[in-house]
Amino acid sequence: MSALFDLFSFAAIGAGVFFFFAGTVGLIRFPDSLTRLHALSKADNLGLGLIVLGLLPRADSALAAFKLVLIWALVLASGASTAQLIGRALRRGQK
Amino acid sequence: MTPPVLAGLAGAALVGFGLYGLILHPHPLRKLLAFNLIGSGVFLVFGIVARRGAAAGLPFDPVPQAMVITGIVVAFAASALAVALILRLAAVSGKVTLDPEAWAKTPSTRPDGGGGQ
């Protein structure tokens, strides 16, 4: 059972790292600020989500697991909001 | 290389960079950033002292850590006061130079009529 959990953790965390990597590549490679913003707001949030998912089986209690999810949710809300705000500023030609 | 040693070397480097910036940058906000770098380097030194002091079941010596917390508060207050001064200076005069020559009003203490402008 624990080996299964470990495998699950490993897979999820590995995928999370991959998405962080992809987000960074997007941030470096994409040609303009608006497209870079997509890379940032989508890939990294998913990356963090997967890492949280991978850590869930290792949490001490259900409450601790919920706490991890809460952390993710907060980052998600912040990231999504600021992405919109930055996009809005860029659309208006502000830098 | 244990974390304390690494952090100690990093702290020393931070102090060095900060000192360099503090002496050289003419802009007061840059000086403030440099001061904050020195500050965090000093806090890291406290941090390694605390970590090395692990004993009696405590993974760290609580006294230096408490001092760091006090120090961070004080450093923040200092930054806020400095920023308020810089912004006010910029608002009333349109410039933020610290060169005393630029501010000297009386001609006799101002040999060539202007410092950092």
């Binding site: - | 001061f35 000093v42 230096p64 200092a78 006061l81 001064l85 810089i86 006010r88 610290l98 005393p100």
Partner: protein, 500 residues
């Protein structure tokens, strides 16, 4: 092995001396408006009484008063400790703060029709905060606690510099702040190293444990450099003249007379009390050389100033230089050390009183004439005799002419340099005295000359008398009895070994 540091009789007075003005700060802010002035002035007699009581207790005990806060002795807790010089400095601070407070009433009264004004509230709160910070510096027994006191002092002093809001004062305040922050962070780094080396920051415990090793030298160098920046010792003096010259007179007096002494006092604590185990010749020589340079350079720069307040501020740079001669002349356990120690302390006191009196007078002069250009002083002495008498008496002490505290200080220092064979230190003392005569002459000569002068307003007699009283005090110090010098020996490590 280490004696337990325990509270002595009279110890609670030390806590009160710090917390009384600190409580005044809180009360002034909470009540706001006119209450701040009342609170600040109301506390001055209480504060003076406390300082007096502490001095009496120290004299009676012949030993330092100690208070372990919360009943928790060092190394885990914090101790306060008042010895002879602490008690003297507490008294001086109480006197000058009170003088500055009563002197400042005319300028920092809350105007009628407003509930609260910016400059008044700031001044009264910061005055009390400076008082609290200085008292803690004088009696603090823990190096980190003293760091907090240093910061308290900085945060209280900086807003006073720019209290009138002109751009050049804001720039001066900003420079002062950056220097001061640099100074305190260097100090703090030294504190971190000392804790890392010995696991305590209590001064008396440290003094027993300190060995001359690399980490101690590094810590000492860093702390000293930081304190020098805060004390404005040459070549780190650049911030002082604009800051002190542009502040209102009452604030300048406190800044020049007391605030720079706070960081100097810590330098004394560091070398005389924390590090007596270090060999003292080399650091003493370095600090003495810097001090000598400051005494000469500061005096020369003072000679060249066109504004009276700037002249007085540069004179502070020079007089700070003399203070540092206490390191080559007083450090160590020599037969002559006590003599040099007495000279150094006398210089602190004489300069504090003389400089406060001179800034007060310069402020009165500027208010009466509408400017403080030295070139425009012709005939002013006739119109403002009391003010110029004060300037003259203060100048007497700065020059080091008898009878004055300044003379006593320089005389003791000259005697020490002769007794110790370090004749080299007598050169800057004499040169500085001559240069000081030059700049005092520059003020007095035009003022005493014939000339017509138009006064905008006649200064209040009471304010002139406050300034005069301080100048007289600087003079009277010249007659300090032997008992005074015995008193400042109380609690000095190595004092027993170096009886005069």
């Amino acid at each position: 092995m280490t004696p337990l540091i325990a509270t002595t009789a009279g110890g609670p007075l030390l806590v009160l001396a710090i917390l009384l003005p600190a409580a005044g700060v809180l009360l002034s802010l909470a009540l706001g408006g006119r209450a701040a002035e009342k609170v600040a002035l109301g506390l001055t007699p209480l504060g003076f009484a406390l300082a007096w009581l502490i001095a009496m207790q120290v004299a009676a005990a012949g030993a330092p008063l100690v208070y372990a806060i919360g009943g928790l002795p060092p190394p885990l807790g914090i101790a306060l400790r008042a010895d002879g010089i602490s008690a003297v400095m507490l008294l001086v601070t109480a006197i000058i703060v009170a003088a500055a407070g009563f002197y400042a009433r005319a300028k920092f009264a809350t105007p009628d029709g407003t509930a609260e004004s910016r400059s008044a509230l700031t001044f009264w709160i910061m005055l009390q905060a400076i008082w609290a910070a200085l008292n803690l510096i004088f009696v603090g027994g823990d190096l980190f606690n003293l760091y907090v006191a240093l910061e308290l002092l900085t945060f209280a002093a900086v807003p006073l510099v720019c209290i009138d809001g002109r751009p050049e004062t804001l720039a001066a305040a900003l420079r002062y702040l950056l220097f001061a922050l640099f100074g305190s962070i260097c100090y703090l780094l030294g504190v971190a190293l000392l804790y890392g080396a010995y696991g305590t920051l209590d001064i008396s415990l440290l003094s027993q444990r300190v060995q001359p090793e690399a980490i101690v030298w590094t810590a000492a160098a860093l702390m000293t450099a930081g304190l020098l920046a805060k004390t404005a010792l040459f070549p780190l003096h650049l911030w002082l003249p604009p800051a002190h010259a542009n502040a209102p007179a009452a604030a300048s007096a406190v800044l020049s007379g007391l605030v720079v002494k706070g960081s100097f006092f810590l330098a004394l604590r560091l070398w005389f009390y924390v590090l007596p185990a270090l060999p003292s010749a080399a650091p003493g020589a370095v600090l003495g050389a810097l001090g000598s340079a400051a005494a000469v350079v500061g005096s020369v720069l003072a000679l060249r100033q066109a504004r009276l307040k700037l002249l007085v501020a540069y004179s502070t740079v020079a007089q700070i230089g003399y203070l540092f001669l206490v390191f080559p002349l007083g450090l160590g356990a020599h037969a002559w050390s006590a003599l040099g120690w007495g000279g150094g302390l006398m210089q602190i006191l004489a300069h504090a009183f003389a400089k406060a009196a001179m800034f007060f007078s310069a402020g009165l002069l500027a208010e009466a004439l509408g400017h403080d250009q030295i070139a425009g002083l012709r005939g002013a002495a006739r119109a403002l005799p009391l003010t110029f008498l004060t300037l003259g008496l203060g100048g007497l002490s700065l020059m080091g002419l008898p009878p004055s505290g300044g003379f006593e200080a320089k005389w003791l220092m000259l005697r020490t340099s002769a007794a110790s064979g370090q004749w080299i230190w007598s050169l800057p003392i004499l040169a500085g005295g001559l240069l000081a005569a030059g700049y005092v002459y520059r003020i007095l000569a035009p003022a005493l000359a014939e000339g017509e002068i138009e006064l905008r307003a006649r200064p209040q007699r009471a304010r002139e008398l406050i300034a005069l009283a301080l100048a007289m005090t600087a003079l009277v110090l010249g007659f300090a009895p032997q008992g005074f010098f015995d008193f400042i020996e109380i609690g000095r490590p190595l004092a027993a070994m170096s009886a005069p």
